[in-house]
Each structure stands twice: as C-alpha cells, then as structure tokens.
C-alpha cells in the first residue's frame, strides 16, 4: 500500500434531508454540504462543531450507514459509497465505528462474549476453537477482566460499556475506527481513562481514528489534525495545535472562547460570545455564519465562501477571508 494513499477520503460529500411538514414540502435540511476530507494512515483526525452541525452525519456517511445525496467516499483509494452491500461487507471489518451512547450499542439480551464473538465468527477472524481466547484477549486489551464475558451489558457502567464497544470495534482487526463522540456521555474522570485507552490502542495497533466531538478538550487531546464544522460545512481545518493557537475563522475563535479555561488569569480575556444557536436554516447565500458572527460585514452576505489557504498557516484552510 502506498504510504501517501489516504486511508479514507471523501469528496464533495453531501447529505440533504427532506424536512417534513405539509407547509414545508420542499424544504431541505443540508446536514452535510459539500465536504472534502482525507484521513492519513495512523493519524487522528478530529471533527468539532456544535450539536446539529452535521458531524455525526459525516461519520454515518463514511461508514456507509446512510447513502450520501451526492459526493464520493473512498477507502484506500477504492470508491465504496456506491459499492453493492454484498461486496462492501467484505471491506467493512477494515473500518469500524464506536457510538456515543454505549448503552444502546450493545444488545441487552446478549452476553459480552456473544457480542464480541459473533462478528468474528461470521467474518472468519477466528474459528470456534480459538474465538473465546480471542474474546479474552480483546477484553484484556480494553482493560476488562476475563470474567466480564459471561455478563450482560446492563451489569456494566457507562465507561465499561464503552470499553466493550471499543473491544467490539477492534475484534475485526480494523485499520480505521470512527469514534462518534465516544466520551461525551461519560463522567470527566472516565473520559480521561477512555481517551488514554484509545491513544494506547492506536499506538499498539497502528490505528487511524476519526474522532468526532463537541468537547474541544477531548478532541484537541487526541487529534493531530482537526476540521471545524458549521452547518454542514467545514469552516476551518488544519493541524490541531496551530488551529487552536491561532484560529483563523471567527467561528473557531468563538468555540475556543466558549470552552472553560482553568487558568484564572485568563478569566477576563476578551472573548467572542455566540448569539443564538446553530441549526435551522442557514441564511441564504454568502457566509452561513454571518448572522452570528461578531465581525460580519455587508460583503459577507454576497461573497462565495470557499476553503482557502491561510497565509503562513502551514496548510491550514479557512472559509473566512478576514481571518486574523
């Protein structure tokens, strides 16, 4: 495999939902609106944004859980979004997913060993004889005792359930794991444990992660590159440290300012406070962020927004030409 082939790539990915309601018959929600992404092998790519910005939809589209309205998804250079399921099924073990709500990610009527063993048996990743040993191995990898395998999901805490979900994702030997807000529903102390576990596993198994989150801290902690999404579009993308240190897009700035800071001396730093909420309809034409942007000017309503390189930004792209 060529080193520079992205492990997964999406081009102009778009997902529109028809909004219901008699009066809004033809209204369309643009959950994802023309996104380009490219994941390099071994990296952790973070996607951040408010609830409803379309980041989870991107995950589901990449995983082939939903069909895109338009655009393409490639896995190791092979187009998969239009591949028949019978063929795609053989590729699916290579890209797995961990969901936010670990509680509903496990069938309540199955023991942990069945949950872990059945996909491995189906895909021939382990034979009947060795599958239990493999289950033990997976449980150990995610830091659970071997005794866990005879238990049912409801006997575990949220963090432990998420460990089981991670074990399930690992069971098929994936190269890429899409983590859709894997720690958002957990206690802060447990969040840190799970994030560290994910980091360790990545190192050990040479995994690539797509990490989706709305907590900036977690995303920054694990990601090497980040994309910031707003209303179905990427508004800024680039190296994590660089992006966090010098945000080029006012929306990124606002997200950073909204995050709590432990340093007391920074308490009264100048901040951008966002008015309103994302979601609903973006203003027609121009920059979708302009009605909430503190730096909005008349020209924002007219210009065509596109991701352009930030001057001196080391490959960083921003959708705002007025970035500071």
């Amino acid at each position: 495999m060529a080193h520079d082939t992205p492990i997964m790539e999406v081009r102009n990915l778009t997902k529109h939902y028809r909004a219901g309601g008699a009066g809004l018959r033809h209204a369309v929600t643009k959950a994802v609106d023309g996104i380009d992404l490219s994941l390099r092998a071994g990296e952790t790519f973070g996607i951040v944004g408010e609830s409803g910005c379309g980041k989870s939809t991107v995950a589901r589209l990449m995983m082939g859980l939903e069909a895109p309205t338009s655009g393409e998804v490639y896995f190791r250079g092979e187009r998969i979004d239009n591949m028949p399921e019978s063929r795609k099924r053989l590729l699916r073990p290579k890209f797995q997913m961990v969901f936010q709500d670990s509680g509903s990610s496990l069938n309540p009527r199955k023991r942990v060993m069945d949950i872990l063993a059945e996909p491995m048996l189906y895909h021939g990743k382990a034979g009947r004889a060795e599958v239990l040993r493999r289950v033990d191995e997976l449980l150990e990898q995610v830091g659970l005792p071997s005794a866990a395998k005879t238990r049912y999901p409801h006997e575990f805490s949220g963090g432990q359930k998420q460990r089981i979900c991670i074990a399930k994702a690992l069971s098929l030997g994936p190269e890429l794991i899409v983590l859709d807000e894997p720690v958002s529903a957990l206690d802060v102390s447990v969040q840190a444990q799970i994030l560290n576990l994910l980091k360790d596993l990545q190192e050990e198994l040479k995994l690539t992660y797509l990490f989706i989150g709305h907590g900036l801290g977690a995303v920054r902690y694990v990601s090497s590159r980040i994309a910031v999404m707003y209303m179905g579009k990427i508004v800024e993308t680039g190296g994590a440290d660089e992006l966090f240190r010098h945000p080029a897009h006012p929306y990124t700035q606002a997200l950073l300012d909204a995050a709590p800071v432990a340093d007391y001396s920074l308490r009264n730093r100048p901040r951008i406070a966002l008015r309103g909420e994302a979601g609903g309809m973006a203003p027609a034409g121009g920059c979708p962020f302009r009605d909430r942007c503190p730096h909005a000017r008349p020209v924002c309503a007219e210009m065509t927004v596109s991701l352009e390189p930030v001057p001196g930004g080391e490959g960083r792209l921003s959708a705002c030409p007025f970035g500071r």
Binding site: P93, S105, N107, P108, E118, P119, Y122, Y152
Partner: protein, 282 residues
C-alpha cells in the same frame, strides 16, 4: 449469574400477589382440562342421568337437558376452549410476527402493502368475517381456530413492526451493519429476541380474547358444534328464561369458568409485562 434471565423475571413476577394467585388458578384449570379424560367422572357426550337434574352426589354439577353429566362436560369444554384459544394465539402470533418483521425491517413498498392489508383486516367486522367463513367452511373446531387465528394477528403485526422500527435505529443494529453482518443475523439474532417479551405479553391478551370470541361464536351456534362441548355452546343451551332463572347449574359454572380463565390470563399478562420490563430493576 444471569440476572436478566428467567429467575429475575420470576422474582419480579412474584411481587404481584393477585397475578400469583391467578397463575395458580390457571395452572389448576389448565391441568384439570388437559387431564379431563382421567378426572372426568362420566363421558361428556353420553347421557348418564335424568334430564336437567340439579346437582347431587352422583352428578356434582347436575345434568344437562339430555342427561349428560355437567361436570364432565365442563372439563371437556374447558379443554376445547383452551385449545381454541391457544391455537388461535399461536396462529395469529406466527402470522403477526412474520409480517411485522418483514414490514418493519424492509420498509418501502413491502411495508406499505403489508400495513394496508393489516388495516383492512383490522377494520373488517370480524363477526361478518366469521359468518361468511362459517357459510363457506363447515363450522367446527378447526374452522373456528383458523378464523380466530386470522382475526387477531393485525395487533401483533403492528406491535412487532413498531418494535422493529425502533430497534433498527439502535446503535447495536447499526454497529452490526457497520461490521458487515448479514441481514438474517440482524433480523433473527438481534431484532427478534428483543421482540419476544412484548409479543409474549400481547399474546396473553390474544389468548384471553380468543377464549371469549370462541364462547361468543359458539353461543351463537357458529363455533364448536355439539356434541363436542365448549364453554360457548354450553351457554348456548341456556337461552330460555326458565333455564336462566330456574336451572342455574346449566349455565353458571360455564360462565364462571370463562370469567376466571379470562381474568387470570389477563392478570398474568399484566404482571408479565411489568416483570419483563428491564426498567423495573431489583
């Protein structure tokens, strides 16, 4: 140990005292009915005493209009009524589960077709259906079983379909899709086991309803035909005012048995609903 299993359900179930009493009653009634050939003192179809004799030491519940022992007839009647109820429930549950699974999982035009058919059957007055069916087929034990089985499945279909629709959106089904698991696995190993509990509970009410329906139809003479006794056609013999007021042993035991059966089954079903719900922990 396996705390989500049978023992936990039994533990939660036993907290309902009335349901526990109902269950015991039900076991006794079903036991007596199943063992009717052993425990019944006389033949249910042959006259063994005088006509319409009141209860005495030889015939505990008296005899009917042509001298057959009422107790024996009642035991055999319970047997028939339970058989009708049970088989009708099995048939409607089987039809309902299959159609509900297919409808909910595949969606699209299949779903539309199945659901409009379901609504059609639901909106059809079943007495009319039975009248027509009875006119076409010979009325009798198996036609009443098939008719009742065909009348009660739409509720099961709707229940299963709704369940499948919500289960299909759960993350564990999505993660199976992501893991490339085949449809039959998702349908039979993930979705079906999670619909067993609600279907079982619903089936108890179908069971009770079928017993009532059999009684009603046999009372009208459209169901189980004499000389085969059923709870409904025993009541059929008690239509005149003189019998109703003067000879209660001809109809009261059958009526009481129907009431006991239906109430017990419904109470057991209600307690089962509570016991199976995993949100009632402890």
């Amino acid at each position: 140990m396996n705390s989500s299993g049978f023992s936990l359900i039994m533990k939660r179930f036993s907290r309902h005292k009335t349901a526990l009493v109902s269950l015991i009653l039900l076991v006794i009634m079903i036991g007596a009915a199943v063992l009717a050939p052993v425990v019944a003192p006389y033949s249910p179809t042959r006259p063994t005493g005088s006509f319409s004799a009141p209860p005495d030491s030889a015939h505990w519940l008296g005899t009917d209009q042509i001298g057959r022992d009422m107790l024996s007839r009642l035991l055999y009647a319970a047997r028939i009524s339970l058989l009708v109820g049970f088989m009708a429930t099995v048939i409607s549950t089987a039809i309902g589960v299959v159609l509900g699974l297919v409808s909910g999982y595949f969606g699209g035009w299949i779903d539309k077709m199945i659901m409009s058919f379901t609504d059609m059957v639901m909106s059809f007055p079943y007495i009319l259906l039975v009248l027509v069916a009875a006119a076409i087929f010979e009325p009798g034990l198996w036609s009443i079983i098939w008719i009742l089985g065909f009348v009660n499945w739409p509720g099961v279909t709707r229940l299963v379909r709704g369940n499948v629709l919500s289960l299909r959106e759960t993350n564990f089904v999505k993660s199976d899709v992501a893991a490339g698991m085949p449809r039959r696995y998702i349908l039979f190993s993930e979705i079906l086991p999670n619909t067993v509990a609600p279907v079982t509970v619903y089936a108890t009410s179908v069971f009770a309803l079928s017993i009532l329906d059999e009684a009603a139809l046999s009372f009208l003479g459209l169901g189980v035909q004499t000389p085969t006794p059923s709870l409904g056609n025993i009541l059929n013999g008690a239509q005149s005012l003189t019998i109703l007021t003067g000879k209660p042993w001809l109809w009261a035991p059958a009526g009481i048995l129907i009431i006991l059966l239906v109430i017990s089954i419904n109470l057991v079903g209600d307690a089962l609903r509570d016991a199976i719900d995993p949100r009632n922990n402890g």
